[in-house]
Symmetry: C2
Amino acid sequence: MKADLLLDSARYVVVCDDSATVLADSSVAVADGRIIGVGPAEEMRTSVEAAEVIDARGQVIMPGLINLHTHLPMTLLRGVAENVDLQGFLELVWAEEARVMDPAGVELGARLGAVEALLSGTTTALDMYFHPQAAHRGAVSAGLRHVIGPVFFSFPGPDGLAWDERMAMARRWPDDLAAIGGPHVPVAYMPHAPFTVEVEHLAQIAELARETDAIITTHTSENDSENDDTLGSRGMRPVACLDESGVLGLAPVLAHGVRLDADDRRTVAAAGASVAHCPGSNLKLASGAADIVGYRSDGIRVGLGTDGCSSSNDLDMFPVLRLAANLARLVQHDPAAISAADILRMATLEGARALGMGDRIGSVEVGKEADLVVIDTRVPHLTPLRDPHTAIVFAAGRSDVRHVVVAGDVVVRDRRSTRIDMDDLLDEANARVGT
Amino acid sequence: MKADLLLDSARYVVVCDDSATVLADSSVAVADGRIIGVGPAEEMRTSVEAAEVIDARGQVIMPGLINLHTHLPMTLLRGVAENVDLQGFLELVWAEEARVMDPAGVELGARLGAVEALLSGTTTALDMYFHPQAAHRGAVSAGLRHVIGPVFFSFPGPDGLAWDERMAMARRWPDDLAAIGGPHVPVAYMPHAPFTVEVEHLAQIAELARETDAIITTHTSENDSENDDTLGSRGMRPVACLDESGVLGLAPVLAHGVRLDADDRRTVAAAGASVAHCPGSNLKLASGAADIVGYRSDGIRVGLGTDGCSSSNDLDMFPVLRLAANLARLVQHDPAAISAADILRMATLEGARALGMGDRIGSVEVGKEADLVVIDTRVPHLTPLRDPHTAIVFAAGRSDVRHVVVAGDVVVRDRRSTRIDMDDLLDEANARVGT
């Protein structure tokens, strides 16, 4: 068969399907942006006629990582608020946002974030930030599969929009998204959180989302004081607000979900909603440690995210993999609490399912869009390599990511963006913030 | 002045002294293995005549990281025991140790570990493993400052030695160490743990350590069952065993120290002993989360370590920095629990003090031995860079380490070992274990 690209003779293909399949000495063929073949290297070499061949000997091919909760433009706010409590944190972040985050700043920050994400093996991000058009332009310019949409507050918020303006923006969003282009993503709406968006407003978003077939993401129960605030202002816990408004019925992605009680957990599981677990940010802001093993037993889908760079400092999913695995062991008092394969599936196939894209991305299988990462294993910290899932979760890092393919396009080759001039990008970011 | 080496025009020198000094646009001069000048780049350029100049523009110079608890040869056991409880873990590790860990395996594993450590910015490791001569030969061949010494068990142990043979080896150790050579390190003795070494035997080690001016390290209160076992077999908690035997009076390095109670903490602080905090390993084995902020308030010195690759999978201190900072926030329920500068000092100057080497290494100051790391900051995940301590602890990683100097020798240049052929090393490791 004819292919645009053959990733040839990988040491392992880590499929990330439900049975945690690993194929030794195998190749992956890509045409028209999709995976058209996965199989033994020798067989593929004779049956595939490829326009381009990438040598993957000694390397691991895996699906691109899916960052299920982040704020990409906040790369420009990296390190702006450190060693302070939450109130001090918000004051510092808001002041810097006001200073640098006009649409041009948002576009630049998202471009920087997308390059950083891609270089560390992330091919899809569920982003949330105001000026979504600007953020989307920035992220897709680097080649990232970038899910974003209008953010909602019931008050004017950082971008100063009135409610009706937000709803009008949301109605236009499917057209805006199509006009900007980039790898396929769903329409998305992003109510900030139940404590900042009234239940009646949440209901309007849910109604529109049903019309436009949009996904929804929102911050939910990140910490105890968020739960208390919501209970105080809405008379209900965050999950109940989402349930009552109809948002939960659309199986949204609940960012953080650190403090879900037993009732919340039952409700979230019944709705088929997902939690975007961001353990690095949750620890850094002292929000707590979500019991993801318990959530999964309850039937809640769990994906993984970094959160934004103001609280997580980088967009690297590898430390998130490792921390999620280790923190689950601490929370459960059990060194066998969760396997490396399950953790890696959270950051790939489960993330895809949370986005309603489980049939399109998230695993290395024929028919899916080709979102692929090639990891070099010829390094001391991955030697010896007994099990690739374990190596990826507990020892690999961003510097092991050698090539990245999104929707069939090679967007990182030999550790460099093929789309963005790195020196220009770094200079522009430094100039923008004055560092 | 004449110098062997000038690290020229660093963006920042992160000194890691007690006042967390940061010098912008500065250089570091080295002669005869020691730092002979630290100052403004322009001044240094005119006053220093250097045999070799390394361009450090856009980079950060910091002291080499000190890994205060590891088992370097266990690189060869990487990934051998995963997703199992502690009993399953030990069975798998012991079986693989018996298979591959003869002296040649120990030397190879230590060499691999030393290369991995150096490439990730660690210049000094407090190692613990049997066949210490072999481990030391392996580690110093890569240029690592490698602290190791005889391991003690009251029973024969994995190396099958009787008690008298262990004591004889310990008396010979200062001469063995001198014969093997390498960067200066103290003599060290390594009783495995109070539950595996009787109090009378601990007392013999303490007596010998006073004679030979040796430091001591031992596993202490890693988890609850260790405390229970010790209480059961010795009638005392681990810290009491160390106190009664005289070991604690020599200010040892206590590996892990996860489960120290209030009495233990007072005793450890009064003795001037140090805790080697290994948060990654402690979480992975579900041992718990040491309250290092509380320990420091009690007056206990805390350094940081990775533990061995069978429980931590790699030897990278950067994830340890980040996790130690984040875990302290979780334990203390306080996002301002500890600063990035304090965390970084634990992995440098505090580690040096724990080894009795606080006047020799651990900071970038004139008169100290030149153990230096040069970090490249021209990468997206370190841009913008507002504070170098924060950037190093929360966003940097091993791939940012560009050059490494130990005792004045450039042992890593442009991300490659200057001492060890990497392809040969990886082939040899794979051949040894059959991967």
